[in-house]
C-alpha cells in the first residue's frame, strides 16, 4: 500500500531538480524571446530536434561534448530559421512555431525509421551520457548525498544560467536594449537601437537554449531517444515564462512547480495510482499555473490603481 511519506520524502528534492532542468533550460529560451516580445512557440519542436541530434551524434562520435554541440548547433539554426520566417517574411510566429513542432515530430520519427529501423524508442547499446558530479565526501550520509551529490552537471548549470540571464537582462546594456525593443519598439528605434538585429538575436539564442534543453533530455535526464519525448515541456516552459511575466528568476519558480509535479507524478504512478490521472498532472498544472499567473497579474494591476485612488483621496483630504 502506498504511503504518503514514501512520496514526500527528502529524495523528492533531487528528483524535482532533475525534472525541472529540461523545463528550466527551455524556460530560458522562452524568456529570451519574450523579452523581444516574441512568443517562440517552436521551442517544443526545437527541443525535440536537439534531443535527437545530441543522442545520435553523441553515440557515433562517442563524445557527449560533440553531442551537445550538435544539439546546440541544430537549435541555433532552427532559431535562425524561425527568426527569418517571422522577421523577414512576416509569417505569424504561432504558425511558424507550430510548423516547427509538427516538423520535429514527423522528422524525428522518419529518421528513426530510416536510419535505425525502429519506431517508438531508440535505445542504443552503450550510449554516451552527460557526466554527473559525484561527491565522495558525502557518501556516508544518504540524506546529504541525495540532496547534493550525483547531479548531472547540466542541472546546476541551468540554475546558474538563469541567474546570469537575469544579470544580463537587468544590469547590462545588451539587456536594456533587448527589453526596450520588446516593450516599446518606436522608443528603442529612436534611441538608435537596431530592432531587427535584437529580435533576430533573441530568437536565435532562444533556439540555442531550446537545443541545449533537448540535449539534456536525451543525454542527461535519460539516455535514450523516444518519439515526442519532449512531451509538452516546451509549452510548459512558455507557461513558466508567463508565470514569471518574462522575469527569469520568477519564471524559474514556475519551472520548479512543473518539475515538482512531474516527479510527484512519477512516484504516484509507481505506487499504482491510475496512470491516466498521473499523465494528466503536468497539463492540469499548466492550466492552474497560467490561471494563477493571469489572475494575480490582473489583481496586482487593479490593486495598484485602487491604492493610488486611496492615496490620492488621502492627499486631497489632508491638503
Amino acid at each position: 500500500m502506498m504511503q504518503l511519506s514514501d512520496v514526500l520524502s527528502y529524495t523528492l528534492v533531487h528528483a524535482t531538480l532533475r525534472s525541472t532542468a529540461p523545463i528550466l533550460l527551455a524556460t530560458i529560451a522562452a524568456v529570451i524571446s519574450k523579452q523581444a516580445n516574441i512568443i517562440n512557440m517552436g521551442i517544443e519542436g526545437i527541443m525535440l530536434f536537439g534531443a535527437y541530434t545530441g543522442y545520435v551524434v553523441g553515440y557515433f562520435t562517442r563524445s557527449w561534448v560533440a553531442g551537445v554541440l550538435a544539439s546546440v548547433a541544430v537549435g541555433t539554426l532552427l532559431g535562425m530559421l524561425v527568426g527569418c520566417a517571422h522577421l523577414k517574411f512576416k509569417a505569424h510566429i504561432l504558425v511558424v512555431g507550430f510548423a516547427v513542432n509538427m516538423l520535429a515530430l514527423a522528422m524525428t520519427r522518419f529518421m528513426l525509421q530510416q536510419i535505425f529501423g525502429v519506431s517508438g524508442a531508440l535505445v542504443l547499446p552503450d550510449p554516451v551520457s552527460l557526466p554527473t558530479i559525484h561527491i565522495a565526501a558525502l557518501e556516508s550520509s544518504p540524506v546529504l548525498s541525495s540532496l547534493f551529490s550525483d547531479y548531472c552537471f547540466m542541472e546546476p548549470i541551468a540554475i546558474l544560467l538563469v541567474i546570469a540571464l537575469w544579470l544580463v537582462l537587468y544590469k547590462t546594456s545588451v539587456g536594456l536594449h533587448l527589453r526596450s525593443v520588446g516593450l516599446n519598439e518606436p522608443s528603442a528605434m529612436t534611441a538608435g537601437i537596431d530592432i531587427g538585429r535584437n529580435k533576430f538575436m533573441a530568437i536565435t539564442l532562444s533556439g540555442l537554449f531550446a537545443g541545449l534543453a533537448g540535449a539534456y533530455l536525451s543525454m542527461g535526464y535519460s539516455t535514450m531517444f523516444v518519439e515526442n519525448m519532449t512531451n509538452g515541456r516546451g509549452y510548459m516552459a512558455l507557461a513558466a515564462m508567463n508565470f514569471g511575466s518574462g522575469n527569469p528568476l520568477f519564471a524559474m519558480g514556475g519551472a520548479l512547480i512543473f518539475g515538482f509535479m512531474d516527479s510527484i507524478g512519477a512516484r504516484l504512478q509507481s505506487f499504482g495510482f491510475p496512470s491516466q490521472f498521473v499523465l494528466m498532472i503536468p497539463y492540469v498544472t499548466t492550466v492552474v499555473v497560467l490561471t494563477i499567473a493571469m489572475v494575480s497579474a490582473r489583481r496586482k494591476e487593479k490593486a495598484m490603481i485602487l491604492k493610488q485612488y486611496r492615496d490620492g483621496e488621502k492627499t486631497v483630504q489632508t491638503s
Binding site: T172, S173, R179, L183, N184, T190, Q308, D311
Partner: protein, 506 residues
C-alpha cells in the same frame, strides 16, 4: 547669433505613395535661434523634421549641417551629428525608470558590459541642475505626469549631446502654466547656444517664443518671417491661403429637458490622473456641454463609461431618466446614444469597408430585407449622406481608408448625427482634420444642437470648446474642477481650472 545658415534643407521632395508630403521645400535655420515651423495638420512640418532626423529619407534634395552635407541620414547618424528630436508621441518605455529611459542606447559602461548607473545618474543630474528641470530619475515613467515626461524627453536629447533640438508639437499636452515654464526652459537653452526648431500650429505660442518663423502649407514652404514682421493675420494667411472666419461664440441656446444626468460617477482609469472620482453633471436637450481639460485627465475614461465601454465602479448615469450604468454599448445605443469616438481609425471606422458600409453600419435594419442586406438601399442611403455632409470623393464604393482625415471624420459624424440619438457624445471631433473640415464639422454639431440633441463635447482644443459650448466643465485629475458659462470665457480662470485651480509646479 550668426546669420549664416547652420541647418540647410535644400529643395527637398518627399512622397508617400501618391501623396507629396513635402514638395520642393527649402528651409534654413541659424545657429542659436528658436525657429518655429508652423502650418496646419498635414502641411508637412513633421515630415520635414523627420527627414532632418533621419527617420525618413528625402526623395530629392540635400540636407546640410554647418556646411556639411549629411547623406543617408539615420536617427543614429543624426544623433551623432548632435541633432535631437522630441516626438509628438513620447518615445519612452513606461516600464523603465526615468534614468533608464534617458540613457537608453547610450549607456555608460562599466566592467563586463554592466551599466554604470552611478556615472549616468551624475551626468543626468547635471542637466537637471543646469536648466532647473523638475525630474525624478528613479521613478517609473508610467508614474510621472505628462509635463515631467516631456522634460525627460528633453534631457534625453541633451544627454545624447544634441546641439539642435527639434520639438514636434511639444505644447499640445501641456497646461498653460506648464507651457510658460516650458518656454523658459527653451529660452535658457537657446541662450546656452542650442538651436531649437519648434513645430506648432498654435499662433500665439509661435509669436511668443520664436526668433524666426517658417510657414508651410500642403507640402509647400510658404515663407520665412522674422519675429518683428510677423503678425497673427499674416501667419494665418500664409498657413491657410485665405482668411478663415470661424465663429468663436456658441449659437443661441434654448435648453430643453435634462437628457443626461451623471451622479457621483467613479471609473477606474489606467492611472490615478485619469481615474474618474465622483463626477456629477447634467446635460439638457438642445445644449452643448464642453468638457475642457488637458489630455489624459479622465476625458477618455468618462466617455467610455457613459458609452458602456468601460466598467463603472460606482455612481449613476441616467439617459432620459433611465438608469444606464452597467448597460452594454448596444443597449445604450438603442436608448438613444450616439458617439463620435476620439479615435476614428480604430473605433470610428472600419477602414477596409466602403464609405457606404460605414455610413449605414449602426442601423443595418434600415437597409436590410429580413436578414439580408439590401445593396440598393445601402447605396441610396450612402448617396444621400455623402451629399448632405459633403464627403469627398463622393463615391460611396471607395474604401473608407483611402479618404483624408477630414473626410473620413465626416463619415463618422454623418453616421452618428443621422442615427437619431438624443444624446451625442463628440470626443475630439476635429482632431487631425484640415481647417475646412473643422468648419463644417462644427457646423454639423451646432445643427444637431438646434434640432434638440444634447451634445457632450470633449476636446483638447480650447478654441473649439469656447466656440461651441453653452456651458463648460473642466476635468482635472479625474474631477470636475469647475464650471464656466459659455460665450465670453474668462481664459485665465479656465487655464487655472485646467491646472486644478493652483499652479502645481513651481
Amino acid at each position: 547669433m550668426t546669420l549664416l545658415p547652420y541647418i540647410k534643407l535644400d529643395h527637398i521632395v518627399k512622397q508617400f505613395g501618391s501623396v507629396k508630403a513635402v514638395d520642393d521645400c527649402s528651409i534654413e535655420v541659424r545657429k542659436g535661434e528658436i525657429f518655429s515651423l508652423i502650418g496646419e495638420n498635414g502641411a508637412g512640418k513633421s515630415t520635414m523634421m523627420k527627414l532632418l532626423y533621419g527617420i525618413h529619407r528625402p526623395d530629392q534634395g540635400l540636407i546640410q549641417l554647418d556646411g556639411q552635407t549629411l547623406e543617408d541620414l539615420t536617427p543614429q547618424k543624426a544623433i551623432a551629428c548632435g541633432i535631437g528630436m522630441v516626438h509628438q508621441e513620447f518615445m519612452l518605455v513606461k516600464e523603465f525608470t526615468v534614468l533608464e529611459n534617458i540613457i537608453l542606447g547610450f549607456e555608460p559602461k562599466g566592467p563586463m558590459g554592466r551599466i554604470d548607473f552611478a556615472a549616468a545618474r551624475e551626468k543626468v543630474q547635471r542637466y537637471i541642475d543646469d536648466y532647473s528641470l523638475d525630474v525624478q530619475p528613479d521613478k517609473l515613467v508610467q508614474n510621472i505626469s505628462v509635463g515631467e515626461a516631456q522634460r525627460v524627453e528633453i534631457i534625453k536629447t541633451l544627454y545624447r549631446g544634441a546641439n539642435v533640438l527639434i520639438l514636434d508639437e511639444p505644447t499640445a499636452v501641456l497646461t498653460p502654466g506648464e507651457t510658460k515654464q516650458f518656454f523658459d526652459i527653451l529660452r535658457s537653452m537657446r541662450d546656452d547656444g542650442k538651436t531649437i526648431i519648434f513645430i506648432s500650429h498654435k499662433l500665439h505660442e509661435v509669436l511668443e517664443i520664436s526668433d524666426r518663423i517658417g510657414v508651410m502649407r500642403r507640402g509647400k514652404y510658404m515663407a520665412t518671417l522674422d519675429r518683428p514682421e510677423a503678425t497673427a493675420e499674416k501667419l494665418v494667411n500664409l498657413m491657410v491661403g485665405r482668411n478663415v472666419e470661424m465663429s468663436d461664440r456658441p449659437s443661441p441656446c434654448h435648453p430643453g429637458p435634462v437628457v443626461l444626468e451623471v451622479q457621483d460617477l467613479e471609473v477606474l482609469g489606467q492611472r490615478w490622473l485619469s481615474t474618474i472620482k465622483k463626477v456629477s453633471f447634467h446635460l439638457c436637450a438642445g445644449e452643448i456641454l464642453g468638457v475642457a481639460g488637458v489630455d489624459g485627465n479622465g476625458q477618455s475614461e468618462l466617455v467610455d463609461a457613459i458609452c458602456g465601454l468601460r466598467p463603472i465602479l460606482a455612481g449613476s448615469v441616467k439617459l432620459t431618466g433611465r438608469e444606464m450604468a452597467g448597460k452594454k454599448a448596444g443597449q445604450l445605443r438603442k436608448a438613444g446614444l450616439a458617439h463620435i469616438p476620439e479615435d476614428r481609425n480604430t473605433r470610428g471606422l472600419n477602414k477596409e469597408f466602403t464609405i457606404n458600409e460605414n455610413l449605414v453600419a449602426i442601423h443595418l435594419e434600415e437597409v436590410s430585407r429580413g436578414e439580408l442586406l439590401d445593396r440598393k438601399k445601402i447605396a441610396q442611403k450612402g448617396k444621400e449622406l455623402i451629399e448632405k455632409y459633403d464627403i469627398r470623393p463622393a463615391d460611396g464604393e471607395l474604401k473608407a481608408g483611402t479618404l483624408s482625415g477630414g473626410n473620413a471624420q465626416k463619415i463618422v459624424v454623418a453616421r452618428e448625427i443621422e442615427s437619431g440619438g438624443k444624446l451625442l457624445i463628440a470626443a475630439q471631433p476635429t482632431r487631425g482634420v484640415d481647417i475646412g473640415a473643422i468648419e463644417s464639422i462644427r457646423g454639423y454639431l451646432n445643427r444637431a444642437k438646434e434640432q434638440g440633441v444634447a451634445v457632450l463635447l470633449i476636446s483638447a482644443d480650447l478654441d473649439e470648446i469656447i466656440a461651441l459650448s453653452d456651458r463648460i466643465i473642466v476635468l482635472h485629475e479625474g474631477r470636475i474642477s469647475g464650471e464656466l458659462p459659455g460665450g465670453d470665457v474668462d481664459m485665465e480662470r479656465l487655464g487655472l481650472l485646467m491646472t486644478g485651480g493652483k499652479s502645481d509646479e513651481g
